[in-house]
Symmetry: C2
Subunit: 127 residues, 2 copies
DNA sequence: ATGACTGCAAAAGATTTGCATGTAG
DNA sequence: CTACATGCAAATCTTTTGCAGTCAT
Protein backbone atom coordinates (compact mmCIF):
# COMPACT_ATOMS: atom_id res chain seq x y z
CA UNK A 1 0.00 0.00 0.00
CA UNK A 2 1.87 2.99 -1.32
CA UNK A 3 1.48 6.01 0.88
CA UNK A 4 -0.33 8.94 -0.63
CA UNK A 5 -0.14 12.57 0.27
CA UNK A 6 -2.87 13.95 2.48
CA UNK A 7 -3.12 17.49 3.76
CA UNK A 8 -4.76 16.25 6.94
CA UNK A 9 -1.79 14.03 7.70
CA UNK A 10 0.66 16.84 6.93
CA UNK A 11 -1.23 19.17 9.25
CA UNK A 12 -1.18 16.59 12.04
CA UNK A 13 2.52 16.08 11.56
CA UNK A 14 3.04 19.82 11.67
CA UNK A 15 0.87 20.37 14.75
CA UNK A 16 2.91 17.82 16.62
CA UNK A 17 6.27 19.07 15.42
CA UNK A 18 8.58 20.26 18.16
CA UNK A 19 6.04 19.85 20.92
CA UNK A 20 6.93 18.42 24.28
CA UNK A 21 3.49 18.51 25.85
CA UNK A 22 2.46 15.06 24.67
CA UNK A 23 -1.07 15.85 23.52
CA UNK A 24 -3.84 13.29 23.29
CA UNK A 25 -5.72 12.39 20.12
CA UNK A 26 -8.60 14.51 21.30
CA UNK A 27 -6.44 17.58 21.82
CA UNK A 28 -4.98 17.17 18.36
CA UNK A 29 -8.46 16.68 16.98
CA UNK A 30 -9.58 19.94 18.59
CA UNK A 31 -6.64 21.78 17.07
CA UNK A 32 -7.13 20.23 13.66
CA UNK A 33 -10.74 21.37 13.59
CA UNK A 34 -9.63 24.98 13.48
CA UNK A 35 -8.00 24.35 10.12
CA UNK A 36 -10.22 21.47 8.96
CA UNK A 37 -13.66 21.92 10.49
CA UNK A 38 -14.89 18.67 8.94
CA UNK A 39 -11.99 16.44 9.96
CA UNK A 40 -13.07 13.40 11.90
CA UNK A 41 -11.62 11.92 15.05
CA UNK A 42 -11.22 8.67 13.15
CA UNK A 43 -8.94 10.34 10.63
CA UNK A 44 -6.88 11.84 13.43
CA UNK A 45 -6.48 8.43 15.03
CA UNK A 46 -5.70 6.73 11.75
CA UNK A 47 -2.98 9.21 10.94
CA UNK A 48 -1.47 9.22 14.40
CA UNK A 49 -1.31 5.44 14.30
CA UNK A 50 0.12 5.51 10.80
CA UNK A 51 2.80 8.01 11.78
CA UNK A 52 3.75 5.98 14.81
CA UNK A 53 3.89 2.83 12.70
CA UNK A 54 6.25 4.71 10.37
CA UNK A 55 8.36 5.52 13.40
CA UNK A 56 7.91 9.26 12.93
CA UNK A 57 6.19 9.76 16.25
CA UNK A 58 5.69 7.81 19.46
CA UNK A 59 2.40 6.66 20.86
CA UNK A 60 2.48 6.67 24.65
CA UNK A 61 0.24 4.62 26.89
CA UNK A 62 0.89 6.32 30.17
CA UNK A 63 -1.92 4.72 32.09
CA UNK A 64 -4.34 7.61 32.40
CA UNK A 65 -6.77 5.98 30.02
CA UNK A 66 -5.88 8.16 27.06
CA UNK A 67 -3.09 7.77 24.58
CA UNK A 68 -0.54 10.55 24.26
CA UNK A 69 1.62 11.33 21.26
CA UNK A 70 5.21 12.46 21.12
CA UNK A 71 7.04 13.71 18.02
CA UNK A 72 10.35 13.04 19.73
CA UNK A 73 11.55 9.59 18.76
CA UNK A 74 14.95 9.91 20.41
CA UNK A 75 15.75 7.74 23.41
CA UNK A 76 14.15 9.32 26.39
CA UNK A 77 11.89 8.39 29.25
CA UNK A 78 8.64 9.85 30.49
CA UNK A 79 7.49 11.08 33.84
CA UNK A 80 3.77 11.12 34.55
CA UNK A 81 2.75 13.60 37.20
CA UNK A 82 0.49 11.92 39.73
CA UNK A 83 -0.96 15.25 40.65
CA UNK A 84 -1.78 16.98 37.39
CA UNK A 85 -1.34 14.13 34.92
CA UNK A 86 1.22 15.99 32.85
CA UNK A 87 3.55 13.85 30.78
CA UNK A 88 7.08 15.20 30.66
CA UNK A 89 10.34 14.08 29.17
CA UNK A 90 13.09 13.02 31.50
CA UNK A 91 16.62 12.23 30.59
CA UNK A 92 18.05 9.50 32.74
CA UNK A 93 21.42 7.90 32.20
CA UNK A 94 20.40 4.38 32.93
CA UNK A 95 21.84 1.27 31.45
CA UNK A 96 18.60 -0.57 31.89
CA UNK A 97 19.55 -3.51 29.76
CA UNK A 98 22.44 -4.50 31.97
CA UNK A 99 20.50 -3.67 35.10
CA UNK A 100 17.74 -6.03 34.16
CA UNK A 101 20.03 -8.78 32.98
CA UNK A 102 21.90 -8.57 36.24
CA UNK A 103 18.69 -9.62 37.86
CA UNK A 104 17.87 -12.17 35.18
CA UNK A 105 14.27 -11.16 35.42
CA UNK A 106 14.07 -10.48 31.74
CA UNK A 107 15.49 -8.03 29.27
CA UNK A 108 14.53 -4.41 29.33
CA UNK A 109 15.07 -2.74 26.01
CA UNK A 110 13.95 -0.04 23.70
CA UNK A 111 14.47 2.58 26.37
CA UNK A 112 10.77 2.72 26.84
CA UNK A 113 9.75 3.23 30.43
CA UNK A 114 7.25 5.26 32.38
CA UNK A 115 7.97 6.76 35.76
CA UNK A 116 5.50 8.34 38.13
CA UNK A 117 5.93 11.26 40.46
CA UNK A 118 5.61 14.99 40.40
CA UNK A 119 6.32 17.16 37.42
CA UNK A 120 8.54 20.20 37.79
CA UNK A 121 5.60 22.54 38.20
CA UNK A 122 3.79 20.50 40.84
CA UNK A 123 7.03 19.81 42.70
CA UNK A 124 7.68 23.54 42.98
CA UNK A 125 4.22 24.36 44.27
CA UNK A 126 4.94 21.75 46.97
CA UNK A 127 1.53 21.70 48.61
CA UNK B 1 -18.79 4.60 55.31
CA UNK B 2 -17.79 1.76 57.58
CA UNK B 3 -16.53 -1.25 55.71
CA UNK B 4 -18.67 -4.37 56.04
CA UNK B 5 -17.68 -7.96 55.60
CA UNK B 6 -18.45 -9.52 52.24
CA UNK B 7 -17.64 -13.05 51.22
CA UNK B 8 -17.12 -11.92 47.64
CA UNK B 9 -14.46 -9.45 48.70
CA UNK B 10 -12.73 -12.03 50.88
CA UNK B 11 -12.70 -14.49 48.02
CA UNK B 12 -11.20 -11.90 45.69
CA UNK B 13 -8.55 -11.07 48.25
CA UNK B 14 -7.79 -14.76 48.64
CA UNK B 15 -7.66 -15.45 44.89
CA UNK B 16 -5.11 -12.73 44.50
CA UNK B 17 -3.02 -13.71 47.52
CA UNK B 18 0.53 -14.68 46.74
CA UNK B 19 0.12 -14.44 43.01
CA UNK B 20 2.75 -12.92 40.78
CA UNK B 21 0.95 -13.26 37.46
CA UNK B 22 -0.84 -9.91 37.67
CA UNK B 23 -4.30 -11.01 36.52
CA UNK B 24 -6.83 -8.69 34.94
CA UNK B 25 -10.29 -7.99 36.33
CA UNK B 26 -11.73 -10.32 33.75
CA UNK B 27 -9.49 -13.20 34.76
CA UNK B 28 -10.41 -12.71 38.38
CA UNK B 29 -14.05 -12.54 37.38
CA UNK B 30 -13.76 -15.87 35.57
CA UNK B 31 -12.16 -17.48 38.62
CA UNK B 32 -14.71 -15.99 40.99
CA UNK B 33 -17.55 -17.43 38.96
CA UNK B 34 -16.48 -20.95 39.86
CA UNK B 35 -17.23 -20.23 43.49
CA UNK B 36 -19.90 -17.54 42.99
CA UNK B 37 -21.69 -18.24 39.73
CA UNK B 38 -23.83 -15.13 40.12
CA UNK B 39 -21.07 -12.64 40.92
CA UNK B 40 -21.00 -9.68 38.58
CA UNK B 41 -18.07 -8.05 36.85
CA UNK B 42 -19.13 -4.80 38.48
CA UNK B 43 -18.70 -6.31 41.93
CA UNK B 44 -15.27 -7.61 40.98
CA UNK B 45 -14.24 -4.16 39.79
CA UNK B 46 -15.70 -2.42 42.82
CA UNK B 47 -13.83 -4.69 45.18
CA UNK B 48 -10.56 -4.54 43.32
CA UNK B 49 -10.76 -0.77 43.34
CA UNK B 50 -11.70 -0.76 47.01
CA UNK B 51 -8.80 -3.02 47.91
CA UNK B 52 -6.39 -0.88 45.98
CA UNK B 53 -7.78 2.25 47.64
CA UNK B 54 -7.14 0.55 50.97
CA UNK B 55 -3.59 -0.07 49.84
CA UNK B 56 -3.95 -3.83 50.10
CA UNK B 57 -3.30 -4.44 46.43
CA UNK B 58 -1.92 -2.49 43.50
CA UNK B 59 -3.78 -1.61 40.37
CA UNK B 60 -1.46 -1.55 37.38
CA UNK B 61 -2.05 0.33 34.16
CA UNK B 62 0.58 -1.25 31.99
CA UNK B 63 -0.64 0.15 28.72
CA UNK B 64 -2.17 -2.92 27.12
CA UNK B 65 -5.64 -1.50 27.54
CA UNK B 66 -6.55 -3.68 30.49
CA UNK B 67 -5.86 -3.11 34.15
CA UNK B 68 -3.81 -5.67 36.04
CA UNK B 69 -3.83 -6.31 39.75
CA UNK B 70 -0.97 -7.15 42.06
CA UNK B 71 -1.26 -8.30 45.67
CA UNK B 72 2.36 -7.35 46.26
CA UNK B 73 2.47 -3.82 47.63
CA UNK B 74 6.19 -3.87 48.38
CA UNK B 75 8.47 -1.62 46.41
CA UNK B 76 9.10 -3.25 43.10
CA UNK B 77 8.95 -2.43 39.42
CA UNK B 78 7.22 -4.12 36.54
CA UNK B 79 8.40 -5.35 33.20
CA UNK B 80 5.87 -5.68 30.42
CA UNK B 81 6.83 -8.17 27.76
CA UNK B 82 6.43 -6.64 24.34
CA UNK B 83 6.09 -10.07 22.83
CA UNK B 84 3.61 -11.93 25.00
CA UNK B 85 2.25 -9.11 27.14
CA UNK B 86 3.19 -10.79 30.40
CA UNK B 87 3.64 -8.50 33.37
CA UNK B 88 6.46 -9.58 35.64
CA UNK B 89 8.08 -8.22 38.75
CA UNK B 90 11.57 -6.88 38.48
CA UNK B 91 13.80 -5.85 41.31
CA UNK B 92 16.03 -2.98 40.36
CA UNK B 93 18.28 -1.15 42.76
CA UNK B 94 17.65 2.30 41.46
CA UNK B 95 17.68 5.46 43.41
CA UNK B 96 15.22 7.06 41.08
CA UNK B 97 14.45 10.01 43.31
CA UNK B 98 18.00 11.27 43.23
CA UNK B 99 18.41 10.39 39.59
CA UNK B 100 15.46 12.51 38.65
CA UNK B 101 16.37 15.37 40.89
CA UNK B 102 19.81 15.38 39.43
CA UNK B 103 18.13 16.25 36.17
CA UNK B 104 15.69 18.62 37.79
CA UNK B 105 13.02 17.37 35.46
CA UNK B 106 10.71 16.57 38.29
CA UNK B 107 10.55 14.15 41.17
CA UNK B 108 10.09 10.48 40.64
CA UNK B 109 8.70 8.78 43.66
CA UNK B 110 6.59 5.94 44.91
CA UNK B 111 8.82 3.46 43.12
CA UNK B 112 6.18 3.04 40.52
CA UNK B 113 7.54 2.55 37.05
CA UNK B 114 6.89 0.39 34.05
CA UNK B 115 9.61 -0.98 31.82
CA UNK B 116 9.18 -2.70 28.50
CA UNK B 117 11.14 -5.51 26.97
CA UNK B 118 11.15 -9.28 26.98
CA UNK B 119 10.10 -11.46 29.87
CA UNK B 120 12.32 -14.29 30.99
CA UNK B 121 10.40 -16.86 28.97
CA UNK B 122 10.40 -14.92 25.71
CA UNK B 123 14.03 -13.92 26.15
CA UNK B 124 15.00 -17.58 26.41
CA UNK B 125 13.09 -18.66 23.35
CA UNK B 126 15.05 -15.99 21.51
CA UNK B 127 13.34 -16.24 18.16
C1' DA C 1 -8.50 4.28 -13.37
C1' DT C 2 -7.07 2.49 -8.99
C1' DG C 3 -6.17 2.37 -4.54
C1' DA C 4 -5.35 5.32 -0.57
C1' DC C 5 -7.69 8.64 2.34
C1' DT C 6 -11.71 10.93 4.33
C1' DG C 7 -16.02 11.88 7.06
C1' DC C 8 -19.58 9.83 9.34
C1' DA C 9 -21.61 6.73 12.20
C1' DA C 10 -21.72 2.51 14.28
C1' DA C 11 -19.11 -1.06 16.79
C1' DA C 12 -16.04 -2.73 20.10
C1' DG C 13 -13.86 -3.26 24.53
C1' DA C 14 -12.94 -1.89 29.33
C1' DT C 15 -14.58 0.32 33.20
C1' DT C 16 -18.08 2.82 35.79
C1' DT C 17 -22.59 3.77 37.56
C1' DG C 18 -27.80 3.77 38.80
C1' DC C 19 -31.03 1.23 40.92
C1' DA C 20 -33.67 -2.19 43.38
C1' DT C 21 -32.68 -5.87 46.40
C1' DG C 22 -29.93 -8.44 49.79
C1' DT C 23 -27.32 -8.70 54.08
C1' DA C 24 -23.87 -7.53 57.85
C1' DG C 25 -23.66 -5.03 62.06
C1' DC D 1 -33.19 -0.77 61.36
C1' DT D 2 -29.73 1.38 58.15
C1' DA D 3 -25.92 1.54 55.46
C1' DC D 4 -22.91 -0.94 52.88
C1' DA D 5 -22.64 -4.58 49.23
C1' DT D 6 -24.48 -7.10 45.36
C1' DG D 7 -26.36 -8.38 40.64
C1' DC D 8 -27.97 -6.67 36.61
C1' DA D 9 -28.13 -3.64 32.96
C1' DA D 10 -27.35 0.58 31.04
C1' DA D 11 -24.16 4.31 30.45
C1' DT D 12 -19.48 6.17 29.54
C1' DC D 13 -15.30 6.76 27.41
C1' DT D 14 -11.64 5.87 24.23
C1' DT D 15 -10.29 3.70 20.21
C1' DT D 16 -11.33 1.01 16.08
C1' DT D 17 -13.81 -0.17 11.97
C1' DG D 18 -17.18 -0.48 7.86
C1' DC D 19 -18.73 1.95 4.20
C1' DA D 20 -19.63 5.09 0.50
C1' DG D 21 -17.73 8.94 -1.48
C1' DT D 22 -13.25 11.78 -2.59
C1' DC D 23 -8.71 12.66 -4.01
C1' DA D 24 -3.74 11.73 -5.22
C1' DT D 25 -0.95 9.51 -8.55
Amino acid sequence: MALKFSKQREAIRKTLEGRTDHPTADMIYAEMRKEFPRISLGTVYRNLILLSDLGEIQRLKVGDGVDHFDPNTDEHYHLICEKCGAVSDIMLHLDLDSLAQEQSDGIIHGHKAYFYGLCKKCAEKAD
